[in-house]
């Protein structure tokens, strides 16, 4: 936890120079000199000792404060203390201010800018006390004695996935009883990656068609696997380790345990990024279409990769990014990293389903995460199905999405649009593309069952 987020997570203190430009007098200095000077002049001209007494504290304070004046700028360091935070997970940041001068600072004002999705709070921490205050995107004022570094520690949850910025941090010191203020010292900004929280997801149904005779899915074909299909008499080609000795001894003939073959599958997760809708409220609030798509994609990828399948991710949008199919834990981390760069990217010209299908394996299960807000999304789904791909559409439009009331016809037009959308979903269903609303665990079971049944049946395919 104490390690920096990345090699560039820690910044070196900003180099300071011993020039006189580092510290500037404040208005308080000119005020004190002006009032004290006027009082003393008046005292001499009028021969009044009381005016000298009135001026004495002001003159003494200036002389006392400026007897030892600072020369160098404070050192500033910004670092993070969390490696791979997930949405809702805690993130820590430390801003360290160092006084390398011959005199102590009265105070140092520290500002830390950060993404609004990082809810960092904190306060000045004494080196020995370990005390932490409360705040929230506020400046922190802390005492920095001579030759001491004071750390301001901030911590809080990262409430939304994505690439967030932490910093820049800035600090300026005040010395000589507020008569001198230093130039601001600024650090660079740090990038913080917050990975999407995977919704709980589980699909127990068999894959429609597997790619080879290896993998985690039981097939309906007999072969080498872990799933017991029955016991039969020993035949040529059977392996000796498959002999069921109990049955063989009882029947006095060699019997072997027959198994079903295991198969793997390729899952293609296709993110429709042509349009976004809804307002994102972070992990505890409302979800936008993009939020639901990304979290669902992460959950589906995690599930199938955990089962040993190969997963690839595609983007249906202007950027048309593509992640090659692979399996394993490394692919899961790559998928999460890939998803961080998912942004709505509307485009005027987008590839059709047939063009997309050319780059997708014929045996792959294509899970399309789409809000069906753009007519081209429905065309793409139909095109994929007509190309013979096993397509499942997951509706990522939030159920609580409402239309802003613009005029009296807003509600009617919104209901018409919803009816038209449901009609489109029905038509897609008729084309063999089941559309299911994303609901976390078990979302895809019902439709996978249908797709498996359809896959077993003969079908005409346009070539």
């Amino acid at each position: 936890m104490s390690q920096g987020a990345s090699p560039e997570g820690d910044l070196e203190p900003v180099a300071s120079t011993d020039t006189g430009d580092n510290w500037a007098p404040t208005r308080a200095l000119s005020r004190a000199v002006l009032v004290a000077g006027l009082l003393l002049v008046a005292a001499v001209l009028l021969g009044r000792t009381d005016l000298v007494i009135l001026a004495a504290p002001l003159a003494l304070s200036v002389a006392f404060a400026l007897a030892k004046r600072p020369r160098t700028l404070p050192g500033l360091r910004l670092s993070t203390v969390e490696s791979f935070p997930v949405e809702g997970g805690d993130l820590g940041a430390t801003v360290e201010v160092e006084n390398r001068d011959v005199t102590g600072y009265d105070l140092t004002v520290v500002h830390l800018q950060h993404s609004p999705w990082l809810r960092l709070e904190g306060g000045a921490v004494d080196p020995g006390a370990g005390r932490r205050g409360r705040g929230g995107n506020r400046p922190y004022v802390t005492l920095v004695p001579r030759g001491v570094a004071t750390a301001v520690e901030l911590a809080g949850p990262a409430v939304r996935w994505g690439r967030h910025w932490l910093g820049p941090a800035s600090a300026h010191a005040v010395a000589a009883d507020g008569l001198l203020v230093s130039r601001a010292v600024v650090t660079g900004a740090l990038g913080v990656k917050v990975y999407p929280l995977t919704d709980p997801f589980k699909a127990d149904e068999a894959m429609p068609r597997a790619a080879g005779l290896v993998g985690q899915h039981r097939s309906r074909r007999p072969g080498e696997g872990g799933e017991l299909a029955g016991v039969r008499q020993f035949g040529p080609g059977d392996r000796l380790r498959r002999v069921d000795w109990r049955v063989s001894l009882r029947t006095e003939r060699l019997h072997v345990a027959a198994t079903l073959s295991d198969r793997d599958a390729e899952v293609v997760v296709l993110l429709d990024l042509l349009a976004d809708a809804g307002r994102s409220g972070g992990i505890g609030g409302a979800s936008s279409v993009l939020d639901r798509s990304v979290r669902a994609a992460a959950a589906i990828a995690e599930h199938y990769l955990h089962r040993g399948d190969r997963v690839s991710v595609l983007e249906y949008g202007a950027q048309a990014r593509r992640l090659r199919p692979a399996s394993g834990r490394r692919q899961y981390l790559t998928v999460l990293e890939w998803l961080l760069d998912a942004h709505p990217s509307p485009t005027a010209q987008e590839r059709g389903g047939a063009q997309l299908a050319a780059g997708i394996s014929a045996a792959a299960l294509v899970v399309v995460l789409t809000p069906l807000l753009d007519a081209r999304s429905a065309s793409m789904l139909a095109g994929l199905a007509r190309s013979g791909r096993f397509v499942v559409a997951v509706d990522t439009l939030p159920s609580d999405l409402t239309s802003p009331p613009v005029n009296t016809w807003s509600d009617v037009s919104y209901r018409l649009w919803k009816a038209e959308r449901e009609n489109t979903m029905g038509q897609l269903g008729e084309h063999g593309v089941p559309v299911v609303a994303w609901a976390g665990a078990g979302s895809l079971d019902a439709v996978l069952r249908d797709v498996s049944r359809l896959a077993a049946a003969p079908k005409a395919v346009l070539r």
């Binding site: 009032v35 009044r48 007494i53 304070s61 400026l66 004022v141």
Partner: protein, 181 residues
């Protein structure tokens, strides 16, 4: 209108430390005006003093602080020269302390963001240094009162010129202290 709404919303972000310091600015300004003002002023003037003292508390970084300090000095001179009042030593020391505290607290308030989380040690150190300065100034006052014959000193012209030269040198020294690298 939008700016006003933003400012009103920002009021909710004020934290205790800066509020305390601005409160000290207000109290010091009001006390200074009250002590320096000639006696027998109408009660309506008190409201004026309250309003005047609130200005440096609201804008401690502006010229209002200087103007209130000069107003305090002007009222002190008016009371002692026009109304020929004989101020007590306590009133003189109180006015001097109020002037200094107004200046010093305003200097701190000007560098403290209104919504900052302030470490208590900062305020404690500030209070200790202010007390030291006030203590030193009190000692100097005792010396002056002991050495000098009274509040009014009649000086020859030569002494006046020498005194002005000393004042000019003192002001130049203070200014140089602030500007030297």
């Amino acid at each position: 209108m939008k700016q006003l709404l933003t400012q009103v919303r920002d009021l909710g972000r004020i934290t205790g430390g800066p509020l305390l310091v601005r409160g000290i600015v207000f109290v010091a300004a009001f006390t200074g005006l009250l002590l320096a003002a000639p006696g027998g002023l109408p009660a309506r003037m008190m409201l004026g003093f309250l309003a005047l003292a609130a200005v440096p508390a609201i804008a401690p970084g502006g010229v209002a602080v200087t103007l209130v300090m000069l107003a305090t000095v002007a009222m002190w001179l008016a009371d002692t020269m026009l109304f020929l009042a004989e101020p007590s030593m306590g009133r003189l020391l109180g006015t001097a302390a109020a002037l200094y505290l107004l200046h010093n607290a305003a200097a701190l308030a000007a560098v403290l963001p209104y919504d900052a989380i302030v470490d208590n040690q900062v305020l404690l150190r500030w209070a200790v240094r202010s007390a030291l300065v006030l203590g030193a100034a009190g000692g100097l006052t005792i010396v002056l009162v002991t050495v000098l014959p009274g509040m009014y000193i009649t000086t020859p012209t030569v002494a006046l010129v020498v005194g002005l030269a000393v004042v000019a040198a003192a002001v130049a020294l203070l200014t140089r202290l602030g500007k030297r690298p």
